[in-house]
């Protein structure tokens, strides 16, 4: 068990990602943030707050992808989480999906499917706090807080103060 990011590291990573998103999109006028619950939604809120200090806060929404998963039948039914469409929708916007950990890529595939049901964004980008490798699909992140090489048997635990006791990312040993 080891801590790979502490709260200062997370704050710095989010600040850098905010600047990268602004730079890549030449400002925030076309940008909409869409967090994937649970922790991706909180990260989206934090990014919007940081962006408000730099330029202004872009529209923020959340997208629950449970009903679009392809592995639903491999686990017992899970409760649905909240979907809140951002102000102004996603039509013609540069949508930045935000999640805590990028692993197999299946969550993002499901998110892309769900997005397709809602509308047609101009572009879709992906920001994650941690990329731990082991992709099963041809998906990559545009903005990465930290690349953490892991064993497939380990698990990565992201804690955020909004729902956990503290801000940190740790690797839990093989189970």
């Amino acid at each position: 068990m080891s801590i790979v990011l502490d709260s200062d590291d997370i704050a710095r990573a989010l600040k850098r990602i905010s600047h990268e998103i602004i730079e890549r999109n030449h400002g925030l006028t076309g940008v909409t943030l869409l967090g994937i619950p649970t922790r991706g939604a909180y990260l989206a809120q934090r990014l919007a707050k940081i962006m408000a200090e730099i330029e202004f806060a872009p529209p923020v929404g959340t997208l629950d992808i449970t009903l679009h998963r392809d592995d639903l039948r491999l686990r017992p039914p899970r409760p649905l989480l909240t979907t809140v469409l951002p102000e102004g929708g996603i039509e013609g916007r540069d949508v930045v999906l935000i999640d805590d950990v990028l692993f197999s890529g299946r969550t993002i595939r499901a998110a892309l499917d769900a997005l397709g049901e809602i509308g047609r964004p101009k572009s879709v980008q992906l920001a994650v706090l941690v990329d731990r490798g082991h992709r099963q699909l041809p998906i990559r992140a545009d903005y990465v807080g930290k690349n953490i090489p892991t064993s497939a048997l380990e698990s990565v635990q992201v804690s955020l103060t909004e729902i956990d006791k503290l801000d940190q990312v740790e690797i839990l040993g093989e189970r």
Partner: protein, 319 residues
């Protein structure tokens, strides 16, 4: 939870609230542009209806289709049942076709239980009304409708006062509602002529009254039941007019209700008998909301039963 929904007693309080929470999230999604979800793609849902139904059948059909399941509608009329085919043979036919869920409505109490326990089929069985026994999804959608009007009781119905009025004896809706509302914490009063109160109702978790006028001013929800003339093999009240005067929600009784009180009816309504046209069309009436909510709650039930790991496969896959 089991892989069937036969009775409200199959559900714990937590599971009941979880289904309502799921339906709530589905409402937010359905209100947006995502009308159709891919969740049950490739699964087959059979509507097996031995009794007539408008609302329940189209509600289940719509729910299954919004989750991308394939739906087969089967009604006894116009099928081999009219040639004398037994429930067992029909069930085995459905098994051979490869049904993942069977939604059954049947005139015999216990038909859904029989189908689930018989070993004839491996599909999930959902009871959509069996005789005078239960109609669990109706109770869930009623609870969902009540909750959306009384947000103070979102997590617990303790303190909420509900009157269920009318033909309790023949009502599977009443039985399921009594079980569910009591489980969720509400205090329920049954109001009916003594001839339409079932034997044993005194042991239910309810109060029983024969006087509607004394009950109406102090309740939050009044649920009117249909007088089920097709099940009445005996004389239960002297005349329709006398029933209406004593137990119908007439215009003058509508005026007794508090401003926040809502009027519910599972449908189809006998206008002029148990409910006056003015009451049925008043702003207190949530009858059409109940229908709309039915689709959401049934989506939640289908998702809960079919959306995850098939329960009989659970032990093999854990290893």
């Amino acid at each position: 939870m089991q892989s069937h929904l036969l009775s409200i007693s199959d559900l714990s309080k937590e599971e009941a609230f979880q289904i309502l929470d799921t339906a709530e999230e589905l409402r937010k999604i359905s209100d947006g542009p995502m009308k159709k979800l891919p969740t049950l793609r490739g699964r087959t849902v059979v509507n097996l209806f031995y009794e007539d139904s408008t609302r329940t059948r189209i509600s289940f059909e719509s729910a299954a289709k919004r989750l991308s399941a394939d739906v087969i509608n089967f009604s006894a009329k116009g099928s081999s049942v009219s040639k004398g085919e037994s429930l067992k043979d029909t069930a085995q036919t459905l098994q051979a076709i490869g049904a993942d869920a069977v939604i059954i409505r049947h005139g015999a109490s216990g038909a859904a239980q029989r189908l689930a326990d018989s070993g004839w089929i491996s599909a999930s069985v959902i009871n959509a009304g069996d005789g005078t026994h239960e109609h669990p999804t109706q109770a869930l959608l009623d609870a969902f409708t009540i909750r959306s009007h009384f947000p103070d009781f979102a997590a617990d119905f303790t303190g909420l006062r509900v009157a269920i009025v009318g033909d309790i004896l023949h009502s599977r809706v009443a039985r399921s509602n009594v079980l569910l509302l009591a489980k969720m914490g509400a205090s329920v009063t049954l109001v009916a002529p003594p001839t339409l109160v079932p034997v044993g109702a005194e042991k239910w978790p309810v109060k029983i009254s024969y006087d509607l006028d004394s009950i109406l001013p102090d309740i939050d929800v009044v649920m009117m039941l249909r007088v089920q003339q097709e099940r009445m093999t005996n004389f239960f009240f002297p005349s329709a007019r006398e029933y209406s005067r004593a137990f119908g929600l007439t215009n003058s009784r509508l005026a007794l209700l508090q401003p926040k009180t809502i009027v519910m009816h599972p449908g189809p309504m006998n206008r002029g008998l148990e409910i006056s046209a003015e009451s049925a069309d008043s702003t207190k009436s949530v009858v059409l909301e109940q229908v709309a909510n039915g689709v959401l709650v049934r989506m939640a039930v289908l998702y809960t039963l079919l959306g995850g790991l098939p329960l009989n496969a659970g032990t093999e896959r854990k290893s």
